[in-house]
Symmetry: D2
Subunit: 410 residues, 4 copies
């Protein structure tokens, strides 16, 4: 502990030499909010099967309990993002879910409609060539808006899973028209206080075309819809080589960056723990956001996790991810921006890069641990906090083996 204090003091000294206000940095770290995905605390897997975790959440109440425990350890995750299919009572009510969450000290965050779970979605949902499927989907959207009102939730996280598998299967331009019509229906149904976040993904569950395949088409749709529609960036939804931070900068500049689904990937939509594959990328993303914020550009961004903890304990996987987010964000906050601006003005490429890397290479743990103390957490290391807290033993004792999938259909 003495060592931590020494490291913290030294770090403060370093930062102040760079002209960085440690208090401001700490304030930013304390006020960051990361939504927890209700669907990620249960078991999840691949098409080849799911490994079951003892004590994994099965019911919506389990999921709320787990998120509350995560929030106990982290202090920056007061919201649980929900999926409309799973986060309701057995008889289809949402209010009790909200009430229980509040009892546990949680708010409900972004609501995610359903466009993939159900036999009717074989050829898509709002883009389906089957009119009846489109009609049902739009009705479902209306329900979602109503549920948002009930839950006092103002953000809708829209993943249009639609696509085709084979050349010739459907008419691509007509699908685009259906896409817009469906989104417009949802957008028009929304209250003025609500925001539509439109996710993009290059492939999966379909493998020839995906109707909302990249930021370009998501941005195009959001622009047509209006100011309450923004782009949702899932870090795993990019083809190899895509420069994600450049997309982030573009969307910030256009006022169209709405939110994130955080995770890491090495190959496809791997949904791995954030920060384990490419810690540099998430750092560069936060750099762009912090830059924008400092330059007066609105950065009202909804941060969510969206991961699949196939082999590791989900709760710990989520805690670890948030810790990695905090590391990246802290690093982005302590860049010597004055020096960087100067070196950029001189086109001193190497120095500019080095200044970025110096922040990246700084050991920010003492600072983050100090923030956790100031947030009143009982332990500066959230993973150890969880492991020492007895929660895992309790759920293993009280819950069964864990459902292998989140119920079928909606």
């Amino acid at each position: 502990m003495k060592q931590l204090q020494e490291r913290y003091s030294l770090l403060c000294e370093q930062l102040e030499q760079r002209g960085i206000s440690v208090d401001t940095v700490k304030e930013k770290l304390k006020s960051q909010v990361i939504e927890l995905p209700s669907w990620a605390v249960g078991n999840s897997g691949t098409r080849y099967g799911t490994f079951s975790d003892k004590g994994a959440a099965v019911t919506v109440w389990d999921r709320i309990d787990d998120c509350a425990e995560i929030q106990r350890c982290l202090g920056v995750t007061p919201r649980m993002a929900t999926h409309v299919c799973w986060d309701k009572t057995e008889d289809g009510n949402y209010i009790p879910v909200k009430q229980y969450a509040e009892e546990k000290g949680l708010m409900l965050g972004t609501l995610h409609p359903n466009t993939f779970s159900g036999q009717e979605f074989r050829y898509g949902s709002l883009c389906s060539p089957i009119q009846e499927v489109r009609r049902q989907t739009m009705e479902h959207f209306e329900d979602c808006v109503r549920i948002c009102r009930e839950l006092e939730c103002t953000t809708i996280g829209m993943w249009v899973a639609d696509g085709t598998n084979y050349p010739g299967q459907d008419h691509l331009r007509e699908r685009k028209h259906r896409l817009y019509e469906g989104l417009k229906h949802l957008y028009d149904a929304m209250d003025p206080s609500m925001t539509l976040l439109l996710e993009y993904k290059p492939f999966e569950p379909f493998y020839y075309t995906t109707d909302v395949s990249d930021w370009g088409i998501s941005h195009l749709m959001c622009t047509k819809l209006g100011e309450h529609a923004k782009v949702l960036v899932d870090l795993g939804h990019h083809l190899h080589g895509v420069n994600v931070e450049h997309i982030i900068a573009t969307l910030l500049d256009e006022g169209k960056l709405g939110g994130f689904h955080f995770n890491n990937h090495k190959y496809a939509d791997d949904d791995l723990i954030l920060g384990t594959v490419n810690p540099m990328e998430i750092y560069m993303i936060f750099k762009e956001i912090v830059d924008a914020d400092l330059e007066g550009i609105p950065t009202d961004i909804t941060y969510m996790l969206d991961q699949s903890h196939n082999i590791e304990n989900s709760i710990q996987g989520i805690i670890y991810s948030v810790m990695n987010i905090q590391t990246a964000y802290a690093r982005a906050l302590i860049i010597d921006r004055a020096a960087l601006k100067e070196s950029q003005a001189e086109n001193d490429t190497i120095l500019s890069n080095k200044l970025l890397m110096e922040a990246f290479e700084t050991d920010v743990q003492p600072l983050i641990e100090q923030v956790r103390l100031e947030l009143g957490l009982s332990h500066t290391n959230p993973l150890l906090n969880y492991r020492a807290g007895g929660y895992q033993a309790r759920i293993e004792a009280s819950r069964g083996a864990g459902a292998l999938t989140l119920g079928g259909g909606c």
Copy 2:
């Protein structure tokens, strides 16, 4: 029909002008054997769910019936490749399966052991750090060899699904040692008449390392094991940009090309119908094989399909795939190789490419349809044959909605 005969005559004329013996080409097409994957005639899907087909096969008997029907339409698919977990009776016997297949005019082809279906495989099977899991896996391999003897099957199609999800999770070199040890156990248990085909795959179901990730490691293992171990190439198991026909040429030259799992992919392991994404690739692969055959290099290759018919009818998807294989193979057989050799000798790059493309662009359907007539099929178009045959209506009437997954565990 008159038109077909005219087109066939014209094609024969064209081919004979190129010095190609139509009889030889037809003989090759008639004697090609493509194994049908038992697991592909049922329903299959993605991690997001499975769309259920009416009448889809549920039991092993259904699967045999379906394969027999496919063979009725195609005439070049007399074998059904099996998976050790699913293609047995409810009480675990294989002999009745073989007997029923024979009744239906089918032989059993390549046997596929299990390394992924089961809770014990969280950290891998033969590469698992848990000794007990490795022991079980090796025992399972011994069982597989025994089953092969029972089924008079001489080929084992080995997909080692093992891998890790995170840096640091396991010791990579030790995993390689475990991999070899496990494969050696299987190899040593095999009869001299048996061949081990070792598949590779870059990722999925694991996303950081895969123990047999590319042809290089598969070939290395096969070389260490001995002459009865060969590489199994699944067309969907390559990263973007990999030149598959070059790998095929290399493996042929080393005497290590053992077999194929045919399918097409645009993104990851999409398992789409062969020929729908990149018909040029499968053509180039067959070109290498035909070249090798003509030059006296052994081409004792086991051809299998391995696809996932997520949205289309599985039986028809399989029939269509085999038709596309035949198209590619026929094109590869009618290349004007004498002219190509000459143009290559003169480094006439454009002409060489054009000669290849001329074969690719030739409409070979009249030839293939003639082959089907000579094989005694009742229709020259296998898809129409199937659609007109009444089989689909019968299974829809007699079978239920179809199981959504092939039973859990093994």
Copy 3:
């Protein structure tokens, strides 16, 4: 020749059975215009060096001669696209170039400004952080508009080569502002009859960010600029896995598809002969264009080649590319669209794909050769036409070894 007539007759029969008017198809093929890139007829290479072709064009007059010879063989390439740096007289005049082209029966097509050739572009051109470089670039744009007027050229093909190599090197949002400002300057300088085509490219010559990196940013800029700005699609400028025909469908639907730079690639911007890597892709692109045309969507698209004939003879490489374009276009024109529409309406995925593939697999050469006869070409095979024509021998005799690069700077 008799055989060709027979094949042509049979094909016509087949097409008419599909309800396709052969006359209409031939008319479309005759009226297609593909611009020849002046810069591609000379030598070109990689960063490792350039292989020199005997007789390769060095001067602008050579390039015009070569393009005229290509047009003699093909009949559908009456325009030469120009690059502002190279296609002028030694003392910087453009009018004589136009006059000579006209003498040779050619028009001048799309003019390409310069944003990469010159020491000043180290940090970009219109996106450079150096104000003086931006000013010069905008002045250059004004020159380009003036030159367009002189040449009676109405299309400007704008590749903004700008980008950065390292994280931190420059301010990404500011670069975006500079990009727009520069393009706006050009757009405002243009006459109402002119069209700006804005190309995108994911990387090269810069390797961290590229200012116009994908269709999304190009489309965004064009939308901001106005109706005379459209997207230019270079087939080699896509990351692995991008579905190009889907982008084409989207741009057609938005009225923003301006033109193409045709080529093929397997890895990066390989600039190979079109049709040699993935003939299916170019077919699917033309399918979308023909669909749009038939459905009344404007398809005023500028087709250009942009290839790098590193090892093959450039003139023949270009001729061969255009032949491959014609093959793809012809196939796209003979799709049985009535049947396809019906099968799509029934969600008959396999049949829909098969209908597409039947057109793709049709041997359309007899039709194209007939078109060439009707265009009055002296030979139905343009490559043989070129080889037999004596032109290659003449230029080898009269010209030197060929310059290894197109002069430095502008």
Copy 4:
């Protein structure tokens, strides 16, 4: 300076708590040797052009001077890797080069033969279908061995640039035979003290096939050749998604890891400064090497840089790269391997990853700066050392603008 000492003391404390001997770590860092690539200190560029640096090296003497200056700043780069075409006197002698290097305190490192620079290599060098080209290449190899003897160099860095651009261009298996024959000729000519390092690369300068395209074919060739042939890994020579540290682990296990060409890439063979794109990757590579070393596996690896400093000052780009190598290596040396072993034994995936990341996130600069002091360097920051040293001003004054390319041919 006081702060540095404090940070160093704190770090030592931390490390010793992990049971890590700081002295051993420092010893490893001091004894690491990174070869400087003679060809990288001059100007280099892309196929679109080269930006010229004032004072950039033109002659071999310049290059030696530059490398000596780099070594003055770094202390771990006592060797200059050479290219046989460029690092000789104007009349083709190598001895004076060696003598001058020695005067400057440098040894000559790995010699790189030529297989790409010259008109004769259009269809390849040792794989060319033209016998005369193959004969010349083999003769050149004999020369290279002779030159190695003269230079007392024991390592040959072999990049076979060969490949083809189009399907059908050449016979792939015959190219493989020619490849082996050519390499065998070189291998047989070598002295027993010499080692052949065989590089692989997926594409460029050829774009259809590359004869040595991946680690698998390089390893296969090296195995056939014998124990003095090993694989050379260039970090930029991998397709997207390839797990490089897994290849490293495999090659170490097979005793076939010969050396590295270090650089970073985001897209293709971008040749960027190491550590700027993906600092995690180089860390994981060094982790595998350190692991192997600690476990008694021979790690006699030749480390080289191979970068293209297109927009930044080359000398500083090289210095910065070596600094980044040292950072990665230092981090890999301070992993708490005892704890990791334990957490792996318990399959504690999250803790295992976290232990890796804790070393990665440790600020190792105080340690590395201490090493530089102990090496007797005049400054702990090599970049500042260079910038303050006056060398850049001297070369700018004394040298011209710098040649834009390294002379043509060999």
